[in-house]
Subunit: 331 residues, 3 copies
């Protein structure tokens, strides 16, 4: 039947936390993939514009039982209602232990999709109607449709009010581009011993530095260099890492970003948060032909920022002198 779809896959260490419970987020992602596939497939069963089903709403979803690494998740989706412009998909998730044969329902979810034209992504196209097994089913679907429509509307109004009152920082200041991310250390981030690979930490540091640089100059940016990095303290599996970056210095063609890595051992809370690594990344801004672009100068606020800028400038001049000396020696 065109209006049914099943997806399944085995749960791997990266899908779960360190005690083996599959993350709710992994399950939600599979649910939405199934919904998107069945919705897109259905809305393209007619002639006219080709389209893509875009997620508009997920109803309240309960996680009835934990799922574990090694189990197979079966995600089955069915279209249960269609209005003129939206599709209701119901999705069930079943966890199967292929060794013991035990099965249990872990989730039942309801998603609403809206078909967006591929020619014009701002256009919503019409949904081909489905057939219902009984008039009661259609009627019940219509009720669910009306109820969610109302809630979406209310939510839109409510959201309109509380819209981000974040005081917008002035462009090109340190505050304006500073960024941080948290990352829950997963199995693939670690050595066999349960310590984070230095390379994983460096990749996250570069990611944050890149976002700071892009926020500052709004162009395509690339890493030009990384200053020496010392790894004083190991980071253990199960930690949450906070990686923060702030711009310290700009020259005509480059930006220096200071990056901090703090580790928080969450469960072993008595150990407390500690600074694991710090480093300076230098970025440059490129145009479409990969040629360097000028960088907007950093606007400094306060003595601290001024001091850090001067230190960055010293590092910049020192590296420049070193590069020149290396060049001369080679000639």
């Amino acid at each position: 039947m065109a209006s049914q779809y099943e997806l399944s896959r085995i749960m791997r260490p990266d899908d779960a936390n360190i005690v083996g419970n599959v993350h709710g987020g992994t399950i939600l992602k599979m649910i939405e993939e199934a919904g998107c596939i069945i919705g897109t497939r259905h809305c393209n069963t007619q002639s006219g514009d080709r389209c893509l089903a875009a997620l508009a709403r997920v109803e309240r979803t309960d996680f009835l039982h934990p799922m574990f690494i090694g189990e197979v998740a079966h995600v089955s989706a069915e279209i249960t209602y269609t209005s003129k412009h939206s599709v209701e998909v119901q999705v069930n998730v079943l966890a199967e232990n292929i060794v013991t044969g035990a099965k249990k329902v872990t989730n039942k979810a309801t998603l609403w999709y809206v078909p967006i034209s591929l020619q014009n992504v701002d256009k919503i196209i019409e949904v081909p109607p489905i057939e219902y097994s009984s008039p009661e089913r259609e009627e019940a679907g219509k009720k669910r449709y009306e109820a969610q429509k109302l809630e979406r509307l209310e939510d839109k109004v409510r959201n309109g009010e509380i819209i981000m009152s974040v005081s917008l920082p002035e462009p090109f200041t340190v505050v304006c581009s500073q960024s941080s991310l948290i990352h829950l250390v997963g199995p693939s981030d670690c050595t066999l011993h349960g310590f984070v690979h230095g390379g994983v930490t460096m990749k996250l540091m570069d990611e944050v530095a890149g976002i700071v640089a892009a926020r500052h100059c709004k162009t395509n940016i690339v890493t030009a260099s990384v200053d020496a990095i010392n790894f004083h303290r190991k980071i253990k599996k199960g930690c949450v890492i906070t990686v923060s970056g702030r711009m310290t210095f700009t020259s005509n063609k480059s930006m220096e970003i200071e990056v901090f890595v703090d580790a928080d051992p969450l469960v072993e809370a008595e150990k407390g948060k500690y600074r694991a690594v710090t480093a300076f990344f230098t970025y440059i801004s490129l145009d479409k032909e990969n040629k360097p672009l000028p960088v907007p100068p950093l606007k400094l606020e306060g003595e601290e920022e001024q001091k850090r800028f001067e230190e960055g400038k010293a590092r910049y001049l020192q590296n420049k002198a070193k590069r020149l000396a290396d060049k001369e020696r080679q000639q």
Copy 2:
């Protein structure tokens, strides 16, 4: 020769930014992987404790040329010096365009590793010496070793001083557990049309909510439910997503976390940041037999938090009543 090693792999869309430049972080990660492999292999060529090479320091690294999707990165590593307790690895990275045949050196890096015993991760074992092609080489290596040792020491002292002056928030407050992450939308997060899959957004939301919950109760936590989520605005490829979570309510056995998703179109900055999604996640805390544990009550500060707590409580009671009604209807 045991002390040489080469790793290579093709660069994929997820390794790069939207214009196709491979992230510096991807390259740093490969460099460190090669260093870790050659270092671990070398330190296990003797009898005695089995060990793992842990990264202690990376020297300043320049990115000489951009690398692109579809190119093959060749990372070759060589052990160039060994002291009693550390190993110096030099790594070269070459980008090869397998279609045109063009090759260019993109990086030269120097990494220092320390072998950690697998029996006791706090014990550093001795490094088997390498043979040098000339006494000059050994002498030069020794100089590099002394220089970096000094810098590491200085850095340790400096870091000890400036250690996180972050004022520690009081436990069990909203501020104490609140968390946020930024995520640069990559190709695999998106549909063919360049919009973020709803499932990807939900997975990030669950990740942040989980970290908030774990920070609050320091135990193994799992998602119990997600309230209805509305997706009012699409998120486009190349955006930076900020996902923030804060605890709003605790009952005896559950925690409610409010999660916000803000999208920042970086390059098309005129569009400005906007709130894309908000939702409430409910988490429970589990013991080692996967049985629910009591949750420490949330400490409220100020009227705003009190108001949000009451709203959370109303949602909690409403859901509880609904579950009971559903149960009765089924009997």
Copy 3:
């Protein structure tokens, strides 16, 4: 029915090359995941030791059509024969374009699994028999079983010798395109038992073969087929895998690449490096309309290469004859 299983997922950018063709390796990995799930499930339908189905052999597999990013791959697996200690699984792969609704069969594969006890990974347990729809089916299965058993034995004997020595390359020679990559086995590459999934190994083999092919003909290349692969030895978590490929034969429109997988247990260095798998991949070169292009002939150097070329030619002619015979039989 317990002996059927279907897996499906949408193809993402990282599953494909830069022109959007899904890698043969991605498909091989999904095929093996389906086979492993159905095999493990079946072998646990009896009382006694719990077990895991370990891949022992994959029969020659053809790639009938290219698959593209955005398409949904449907992988369905069925158990078609059981001997005392092994399970034959047949897997079909279908590519569905959910926008146009077009579907095409892209692969038909046959895999052999052996159930390994979870209590003792060196013990092979007995396989519960399946029921056959007719005695003819059982008889045909038995013939396939005997044939592959013989081939596995022969292959075990043949495997030994060789490894490559690199010097500077003349275009279109074997040395010019030969390639190798190294991969540190991570948690998500492994089963719950800490052994590498056969599918992960095949994906890496296809990646190397693809690089060899692209280096040789500098065009868009796709996997056309894989010869039977035998998995003689398991690979453990924490190993470093070296995957090397070299071209052995070219016809007008195809290239044959031999791929070796060597496992190096790093920490348990006394165990030494060993050859885990070898296989032959056939690639074709495509133009922008996905039509086959002529392949530059391989320049042979030395008797060894000449001999391998002749052997490759024999395999090529044999497969061609077999395809013709199959076609005639179907008419």
